[in-house]
Symmetry: C2
Subunit: 299 residues, 2 copies
């Protein structure tokens, strides 16, 4: 019999990328969110407010999933970095993990962030391993690190996926990639900063596959889930201009750089590749091109 997996936040930016690859791995996939069934999702849908502990507990008691992938969080664009909701989600997520274990759950997968890591550390300029010091500079990063620490103290079998820089379907239009892609599709100039910082970009398509593989594996603890590849933001934006056949509209250096930006932020994906055994290609450039084509069809 197929094992049952529950994805929280399954209509969200990351969560929506999970059901298809989980189903492909043989899971019976259930999704939960506050709203209606997202169109086209292969998950069986449940409606619940996970900030309500009773709601969460009732769902888990009914469903008794073997695996839980916890993508739900407060993610309002721009505001999530400092919002008080981060603290609420720490409490709700710890309660969720406890209720999941009580309901016979076998494996919990939490979603962490590169924002948990120290901005500067010895060896900088090379990809960041999971052993990099934890020193979050933002309330969002602090909340994720706090939840990770609490889950570790509980001693339940769990993995903790640290995500880096994502792009993909359903992304907020003011974030870098859709902002530039939509400006270009409309024939407007896309004003950017210098784009010098190097980041680990990956599509939610790829990250969804990697998270599904991690969920299906027995690997425990923190695992960077990212492409492992470093790209200058300028190279990403230039590629979007080229893919849209509007390279002249990409205005690098038009906006000022933010002071204190971390120059290099790339995941060491050794654990994901070797211990999880996840070998699928990141195909970042191809996914960026697909996104540009989708925006051109439906701006």
């Amino acid at each position: 019999m197929a094992e049952r997996v529950l994805v929280t936040g399954a209509a969200g930016f990351v969560g929506r990328a999970l059901p298809a690859p989980l189903a492909a791995l043989g899971f019976e996939v259930h999704g939960v969110g506050r709203g209606d069934t997202p169109p086209g999702s292969p998950a069986r849908w449940h409606r619940a407010n996970l900030l309500d502990e009773g709601d969460a507990r009732a769902l888990l008691r009914d469903l008794r999933p073997a695996v839980l992938v916890h993508c739900a969080w407060y993610v309002a664009h721009g505001k999530f970095w400092t919002a008080p909701e981060n603290a609420q989600w720490v409490e709700a997520s710890e309660a969720l993990a406890a209720a999941f274990a009580e309901a016979g759950g076998r494996r919990f997968l939490g979603i962490g962030s590169c924002a948990e890591y120290a901005d500067a550390a010895p060896g900088d300029g090379a990809p960041w391993p999971e052993t990099r010091p934890i020193a979050p500079a933002t309330p969002y990063g602090q909340a994720k690190a706090e939840l990770h620490a609490r889950l570790a103290r509980r001693g339940l079998p769990f993995a903790w996926a640290r995500l880096f820089h994502l792009f993909g379907e359903g992304e907020h239009p003011d974030r870098l990639v859709p902002f530039v892609a939509r400006a270009l599709a409309a024939g407007r100039e896309a004003a950017c900063a210098s784009g010098r910082p190097v980041r680990d970009f990956a599509s939610t398509r790829f990250i969804g596959q990697a998270l599904a593989a991690l969920a299906a594996s027995g690997v425990e603890g923190a695992v960077n889930v990212a492409s492992g590849e470093g790209r200058r933001i300028a190279d990403v934006v230039t590629l979007l201009g080229e893919a849209a056949a509007r390279p002249g509209l990409v205005a690098l250096g038009r906006l000022p750089d933010r002071p204190g930006e971390v120059p290099f932020m790339v995941a060491d994906t050794g654990r994901l590749r070797r211990e999880v055994g996840f070998a699928a290609p990141a195909e970042v450039e191809a996914d960026l091109r697909r996104l540009v084509a989708a925006v051109a069809r439906d701006p």
Copy 2:
């Protein structure tokens, strides 16, 4: 003053991809081969037969390179797996490394192969780390493993790059990628086997960058130099068909599978990414598409 690097086999399939990224890292780049200066190479060119120890010694004494990237080998398509020339190149390469050290050389980078590794080992299905058992099944793999062992016994500072599956400019037309790309460009059917095996494909453009970074680093010993990504051969071939807008000409399953093919052969690139600090994207799909476009322009 820029450090001097000498690339052997610098007109060859791998070697030609080295001068540009080495120059970008600030090296003064010299190349050596048996023939004339390859057109467009940014290397200062030297002509020598490295199988002649006197020739090799004279060149190193004149040039006194600080770094040597040794790409030269016997590589005749199809024949190199079993050719007696493999043993000759073990001797010549060891002599070259010794002469390089005598001439004041600082760092030797040898080119090894995934063919050095055991075809089967515990943990199969996950990427292959450098600690995988060495058990070459072919004379080519045996010769590379033997040279690695001899260099290690000499105690000189050296790194040993194990390459996986390459494609790119200057590739023999009977190898998989150019064979399929050229058939499609000519409107001919490209007959393939099932394409089920998973391989670590990477372009020589990307591998050249990675080898240059390894040459410039202080990392010693064996390092897998590869994309770290697993693709079914069928997916690569299907992508070529799609990129050429001739998907119907890709005839998977038309040829019999070779018996005993290793099902999964993908590099663990943790050392390359983390210790060398090489974070550039592999962009395999984009490079395959560029290759298809180049073949369409100049079949």
